[in-house]
């Protein structure tokens, strides 16, 4: 279970070079992090009662890339991974998501993603942060991953390969994670792409109760030991795709093992 230290104390203990006004060189602001993680903390501890397994596999310092599956029609998965890194890690760490471009175009979302380090997913941004020994959070399924419908919630769509080239180029260990429960929290039955275009987002998910508001379903995230792929990042597509397949297999296994363990728990320990 998550530690119950105050969010302010945890943010204070982040090993990031904040200046006297509590802002780092990327514009990440302690004041905004406290507000952001206070809201996420409520969701993490009380609403979704997130269980994080294998946090000990995440390096406590240095560059690293958390790579996982999308689960749920809005960014609940990413938000809870960020929360798990702050609330469960010792010392607490700030994971920095590689966000969809539209998030920086919309008012308020632009401000809050900028102040909490959730930058647009550009290779230039990723390389700079990794070379600065930050921790990135990447969902290689992209927006296609969040568009998964309820009955597809445990499947994985195609992974992009950009993250692997960047990891190899910057010699960054990849920590695969499997996220469970998001599909049940936001049971998407249809995605409205036309409406999404109108409001400046890729799509608007529709649930049986219409609004894409998450239900208080218990969520789980399972971290696995890091994987390091040697190379320059300039290798042939087949080489990169084979490495990506290894990460995808690992994530797939984490999801399956997580589901099996959950099934076992629900059935009172029976196989």
């Amino acid at each position: 279970m998550a530690r119950h230290d105050s969010v302010t104390a945890l943010v204070d203990r982040l090993e990031l070079p904040f200046n006297a006004l509590g802002v780092d060189r990327y514009g990440i602001s302690k004041k905004h992090l406290v507000v952001f993680f206070t809201a996420l903390g409520f969701l993490y501890r009380w609403y979704f009662r997130v269980a994080a397994h294998g946090v000990e596999h995440v390096p406590p310092r240095g560059r690293c890339m958390l790579v996982g599956n999308h689960s749920g029609g809005v960014a609940t998965d990413g938000a809870m991974v960020l929360a798990s890194m702050l609330f469960e890690m010792e010392p607490p760490r700030l994971a920095q998501g590689m966000a969809e471009k539209f998030l920086n175009q919309l008012p308020l979302s632009s401000l809050w993603t900028s102040r909490t380090g959730q930058f647009t997913g550009l290779p230039e941004n990723a390389i700079r942060l990794l070379e600065d020994d930050r921790m990135l959070m990447v969902f290689p399924e992209g927006a296609r991953g969040t568009a998964k419908l309820y009955n597809e919630r445990y499947s994985l769509v195609d992974f992009g390969t950009g993250f692997m080239r960047l990891a190899m180029k910057t010699r960054t260990p990849i920590v695969p994670f499997g996220f469970l429960g998001g599909g049940a929290a936001i049971p998407t039955v249809k995605n409205l792409y036309g409406l999404g275009k109108l409001v400046g987002v890729p799509y608007v998910p529709v649930t049986p109760y219409l609004l894409p508001l998450p239900l208080p379903v218990p969520l789980e995230v399972h971290y696995s030991p890091p994987m390091l792929f040697e190379g320059t990042g300039d290798e042939e597509d087949q080489v990169i795709q084979a490495h990506v397949a290894q990460v995808k297999d690992r994530i797939s296994r984490l999801i399956e093992d997580g589901r099996a363990a959950r099934h076992q728990r629900r059935n009172g320990g029976a196989a």
């Binding site: 006004l21 175009q105 102040r115 700079r128």
Partner: protein, 310 residues
Amino acid sequence: MKVLVMGISGGIARLVAIGLRERGHEVFGIDRRPWPGAPRGVDVYGVDLRKRAAEDIFRRRRPDVVIHLATVNALTAHGEERSRINLGGTRAVFEHALSHGVEHVVFVGRHTYYGAAADSPLYHTEDEPPQALGAFPELADLVAADLYAANTLWRNPKLVTTVLRLCYTLGPSRMGTLATFVKPKRVPMVLGYDPLFQFLWEADAAEAVILAAEKRPRGIFNVASCNPLPLATIVRQLGRTPLPLPEPLLLALLGRAGFPRLPRGAVEHIKYPILVDAGAFRAATGFQHRVDEVETLRKYRSLFAAGELP
């Protein structure tokens, strides 16, 4: 060395001239604006850079180094006049430099060259092209001047050319884009956006230009401090109040009811950051700012308190 400073009456240019003089260099300058109280030994020629009289100064005084600080932004000059100053002036500087034996030209451009856009990388490096010019056509002549200066690197390799892309500055001159923008008590912002701004204390900016003149690095270099700050933080630290308005309302109010007369494209610059990676310049010259971003704001605010600002 003999140094000719173009635009010598400007805020940073004066500090550059004084700094060079203190280090024993011979300094003279060209500016249509006067510099009352210019230090003894610093000649200021009140001629137009694009006129014959300016070339005569090159011919007569034979400078070794020319520092070109005579460009203007969209807030201080408009339309054709701005283009004549920026592009016409820059062309004249390089042509005269090549004709009259100048060894080194330092072109002091602006970091706004890179443009502000939602999908830009957070930090820009020198090899990136300008972006989002379509949204802010008033920047085109400054960008063209920068590119013209930069292509001298291959057109005339014998002339050492240093192109600096300098971030915003704050200081006692009270001049510059950021200083102008944060002047009112209530500073307009776009609701829901709070871009990062990089800025240097004026004396540090002048030191960077002096180092460029002395070390003569060839190439294009970003010049900035280490840490940027969000605009709302800058405004509050300066004792001003941010006034966040929805973008359509702000656009409608520009130039009216006491709101600044900004070009529409400039609104992108108060939505998205333009940050530059200044590592190459530090490596080439050893430049290190003396006043950090927090201290810069404290010092600038103390100017307000001392009644030094109108």
